[in-house]
Symmetry: C2
DNA sequence: CCTCGATTTAAGAATCATTCTTGTTTACAC
DNA sequence: GTGTAAACAAGAATGATTCTTAAATCGAGG
């Protein structure tokens, strides 16, 4: 067996999963989805590696929705939309925070700015349409 | 005793506290700070009223810092800065999210946008200076 | 091959913020 | 006063997350 293959199998699976997902999953979703492929995966392993990836800057935590932390395999800052109905977290790829705002923020707070998050909330397309139908 | 005075004493105290505070307190901070004045205050009462105020749009939840929800007596959207060292949540009153961004967001997501939050993270002035001193 | 120290992991216990439940108290209208 | 609805206290219950302990796995030497 190739070196490192087995030792990091779970770690790599978690990172791959995050990078391929657009759903901004929670720790539990990651666990549930990977469990069939990796039967002896434990929640502790998921949380430990998520913490590790965050420290290394490989991933980011993008929001806490109804008390549950949501993760993104893309560590670059970008804009999100959170549906208050179905709790979906969606990338708004076409938007970005203007540099002028970040610069202003640094001046205002007098400290050092490391990151920023812009998040819109409301009802996503699906939930919106579902409501109109049932009306 | 004037009508309604006693019935809502705790509710009003919690709302007043939130409106006067600039610290964006957690439920526990509110409880701890009000407890001396209101000895038989219970955490349940704080949580119940916070939920109520949120539903009524009197306050807003502005962030979850290290797993703890933080509240703001000002329900209008405004920009915040969160210190990753001391967990302070600070208003950046001079900044605001451009209307163009909000409009774009509505178009991108295809649903209805109700709110938005812009949050910068980094080290606040105090923590920054403390680090420089101790270096 | 066999052993070593270091790293990763599984499993479940422990923690902590938040919510729920139950029974009690309060305010107000009649 | 009596009844009804809202607010409350106290503590139990829930649920996400973290910690603990011991076992499995790795790479490097012998």
């Amino acid at each position: 067996m190739a070196p490192n293959t087995k030792h990091f199998r779970k770690r790599d699976a978690i990172l791959d999963y995050l990078r391929q997902s657009k759903a901004h999953p929670s720790a539990e979703t990651i666990y549930t989805d990977l469990k069939p492929q990796i039967p002896n995966l434990a929640m502790g392993t998921v949380y430990r590696n998520l913490t590790l990836f965050k420290e290394q800057g490989e991933i980011q935590s993008v929001a806490t929705v109804k008390g549950v932390e949501r993760f993104d395999g893309n560590p670059l800052p970008h804009v999100h939309f959170i549906c208050t109905d179905c709790d979906a977290v969606i990338d708004l790829d076409d938007l970005q925070v203007p540099d002028t705002l970040s610069e202003l923020a640094a001046k205002c707070c007098g400290g050092s700015v490391e990151g920023c998050q812009l998040t819109f909330t409301g009802q996503c397309k699906n939930c919106n349409e579902r409501k109109i139908e049932s009306a």
